[in-house]
Amino acid sequence: MSLKPTNILLRGMEKESSATIENYISEDGYKALEKALKEMKPEEIVAEVAKARIRGRGGAGFEAGRKWGFLPKGVDKPVYLACNADESEPGTFKDRHIMEHCPHRLLEGCLLACYAIGSKTGYIYVRGEFPGAQQSLWRAIDEAHEKGYMGEKILGTDFSCEIYVHTGAGAYVCGEETGMLSSIEGGRGHPRLKPPFPAVEGLFRCPTIVNNVETLSNVPFVIHEGADAFLALGTDDTPGPKLFCVSGHVEKPGCYEFEAGANLKELLEHCGGVWKGRKLKGIIPGGASAHILKPDEIDVSMDFGSMARAGSILGSAGMIVLDETTCIVELLRNALEFFAHESCGQCTPCREGTGWAKKIVTRIEAGEGTMEDIDKLWEVADNFEGMGGKTICALADAAAWPTKSYVEKFRDEFEEHVRLGRCPMKG
């Protein structure tokens, strides 16, 4: 499958005025909201979104429509929408692009979601390190109020809704949906035990739907153009458009929009290939949590299913390109510094294990490791991996996957560090 550009999620971003409501309206913005409020019932919105099978763009790939369907019926409590804009997965910056350049598309998506799930309040949790995105959203919220797309009796209907930006303050784990809820409530960003799931008991102990920025930004298209138009894009596994974040040792890093399922190898070529004419060492395809792919493994379609079959994850589609000069041991040390630093500290295996793994790899990198240390590193990671069994959230798994895959695929490089007593890449 060759690359098929789409112009939906970041439509108009090349324009200086892309973030303004005037520009958004000129591109059929808020037409979906108008259609929904005037012609469709909330359950029809849910059905259309379910039909489109929008898989969660935050990385888990869970279908948004199904999630919305989990809301308990007949509960006498407010329902909340929490939009996850804590985009913190290393190598990922697509949501920032949407918020900075096309904030109204996200707001329209939020409003449509609120209408569909019966919510009058939505919070967009934007990480504290994105002041530009926060300002852009607040401006857009003001504009939407002025034009009657937000607030009381939207477009003269009975639907009233407020969307607020809630700032984070520096914590990767708040990108985990329940960690985010803890943070919105004014607490440490500790992920919560599930069950209960947020749809049943989320924000302020009320039913809450959590969706990622890119996920919600797809909703206006689905409602305006119809689910079939959405299903016509991408792959059967992952329909629709998709943003791909390309960074690292690449000629033209950036945020690219293609139909989901874009071929990773072609994507790399589209971005000018490995920089400085160097050879490719590997690609981390789905953010720092993803299992590394070697050059012979990158002829793969970037959708959820294909990436899983390739032994990695689509994740947040944050591709980090690594050239031949990269020291894999150093890279793992850097990744484990990240995960150990971001472990919230709740669960024993993650709290203790990520720090332990970091210390082992640091020693190996410094040439002070032993062959046993390489096995130990892998085993420690294996011991804190457990898909919810060992830990409350997936942060430990996110640390285990790179650790195990780097050791498995580049074991010779680890051994070389041990043998030489130093890093072979640095003189």
Binding site: A171, L193, T348, E352, G355, K359, G386, G389, K390, I392
Partner: protein
């Protein structure tokens, strides 16, 4: 009602029961650090790993504390998978834990030690430098904290936040630098703070009161009840060298759940104090002279007999047991024919948790037996209406009015455990005992009857209060039992509120029982 299988045994449980609870019902103990029946589920320590038998699961193990029992579920708590998962968690718990067990106060009751022995690896693979954290932090005068021993189970944080309703403890920092802390310039101030010491599964939170007093395995623990207020929290009295070393709350679902207040917990030092009465005394020429207990009992009985009964008043402490109150009242009513009996009321500040404003532990029992709060005693003495006073188990050293009235009495007889200022005015002093040295029952504010058990022998020549009271009655030819059980039977025959309670029941369960009769008594 889901039916599931745990370790090959079927059990049907109420909906909402977790696997850790269901296993407990089967007598299968799953190790735990963060989970506690009295606290909200945190699911953070991850030690309670069990295997969910299901071939489809890539990772079959999960935590039992947050796993709801489902119909048809098959759980293995001791399979190879479960054991490996638990050993993995145990290894992580220990890597940064200091190896200071020999000097740790928790040694002997540390579940980290116990589970590590059962589920851990035999040697450490951890060769890195351990994370350093806060040591020797005083959270309050009574609670000290060692951050390196802490395993971050957050029981203490949850207790303060969710049980007491005062979020005084928090977690600070994150990852392997996370620690428990109090606010800057703050501390643990809530009146239940010392429960965090019992809750702490390791030696991170220790009692300044108990620290270094004794290794716990030398302590003898006696189940009993706290007598500091009308709640009567179930306790264990820890003793060694004929001294009380500590009080700890004991689980009782009706009275105190798992908790007790700090005031009650620390209110035992008087048992070990120097002013304890070890001997009987009589007043001779303005001086207290030691005499034998039997002689003192005889003299007391004689003094009481000399006075016209209408001039005699008896103070029976509501700190005494039901049995003691019963015998004391019988003596004053039937033998001495006292014009009045009553107890000294003690009112303090109460709360809506455990602390009762009524600081007498057995006012409810006294009331049921027919002893009510004394009124206008000082005035009656001043007016010459009362000329002889018998005090069973009490003193009023700080009541200036009553102390001032004592001079107007013809005689004063005191039975107490210490040589109080009140006792020093007495003509005869009978050496009795504290709660720690006696057996008997007390009735709490809600009507639950608890049992006290002797943890120590009476000091020197002091006698159990029941012996002294039975001795007085014996002088008058009344043959009464001198065991708590015997007296309780007599009490149950006489006072209808106690009729349906069997002493053995209180004793066997070491916990309170209440009958409708008691609860309905007033």
């Amino acid at each position: 009602m889901p039916t599931l299988t745990i370790d090959g045994r079927e059990i049907t449980v109420d909906p909402g029961t977790t696997v850790i609870q269901a296993a407990e019902e089967l007598g299968i103990y799953i190790p735990r650090y963060c989970w506690h029946p009295g606290l909200k589920i945190a699911g953070n320590c991850r030690i309670c790993q069990v295997e969910v038998v299901n071939p489809k699961l890539k990772f079959p193990c999960t935590i039992a504390c947050n796993l709801m029992c489902g119909d048809g579920m098959v759980i293995e708590t001791d399979s190879d998978e479960a054991k490996k998962a638990r050993a993995d968690v145990m290894e992580f718990l220990l890597i940064n834990h200091p190896l200071d067990c020999p000097i740790c106060d928790q040694a002997g009751e540390c579940t980290l030690q116990e589970f590590s022995y059962e589920y851990g690896h035999d040697k450490s693979r951890f060769t890195e430098e351990k994370v350093h954290k806060s040591k020797r932090v005083q959270f309050s005068d009574q609670v000290s904290f060692d951050g390196e021993r802490c395993i971050l189970c957050t029981r203490c944080v949850r207790f303060c936040r969710d049980v007491v309703g005062n979020e005084e403890l928090c977690l600070v920092e994150r990852g392997d630098h996370e620690e428990i802390a109090v606010a800057n310039g703050g501390g643990l101030t809530n009146p239940y703070s010392m429960n965090v010491i019992d809750l702490c599964p390791v030696g991170a939170l220790t009692s300044s009161d108990f620290r270094f007093k004794s290794r716990v395995w030398f302590l003898e623990e006696t189940p009993s009840a706290c007598t500091s207020c009308a709640r009567n929290c179930a306790v264990d009295i820890g003793t060694r060298w004929d001294k009380v070393m500590r009080l700890k709350p004991r689980e009782n679902e009706h009275v105190n759940k798992w908790w007790m207040c700090d005031e009650g917990r620390l209110n035992y030092h008087y048992v070990n104090a120097a002013d304890r009465l070890g001997y009987a005394y009589v007043q001779q020429g303005g001086k207290l002279v030691r005499t034998s207990v039997d002689d003192a009992v005889a003299m007391a009985h004689e003094l009481i007999g000399k006075l016209p009964a209408e001039k005699l008043y008896g103070l029976i402490s509501a700190r005494l047991t039901n049995e003691e109150i019963f015998l004391a009242k019988r003596y004053l009513d039937q033998v001495a024919g006292a014009a009045g009996v009553g107890f000294l009321p003690r009112i303090g500040e109460g709360d809506d948790f455990l602390i009762s404003a009524d600081r007498n532990p057995n006012a409810r029992g006294a009331g049921l037996i027919g002893v009510s709060a004394a009124k206008g005693l000082a005035a009656d003495i001043k007016a010459g209406k009362v000329k002889g006073l018998v005090i069973f188990g009490d003193s009023f050293d700080h009541d200036e009015e009553l102390m001032g009235a004592l001079a107007d009495l013809d005689f004063l007889v005191v039975m107490d455990y210490r040589l109080s200022e009140t006792a020093k005015q007495a003509d005869v002093i009978l050496p009795g005992v504290t709660f720690a040295e006696k057996e008997g029952s007390i009735t709490n504010i809600d009507g639950w009857v608890s049992k006290l058990n002797p943890a120590l022998p009476p000091p020197a020549e002091a006698r159990r209060n029941l012996d002294l009271l039975a001795g007085l009655l014996g002088r008058a030819g009344q043959d009464v039992p001198d065991t708590a059980e015997g007296v309780f039977r007599l009490l149950a025959e006489t006072v209808s509120a106690f009729t349906d309670i069997s002493y053995g029941e209180i004793f066997a369960a070491s916990r309170q029982v209440a009958t409708d009769a008691v609860v309905k008594a007033d």
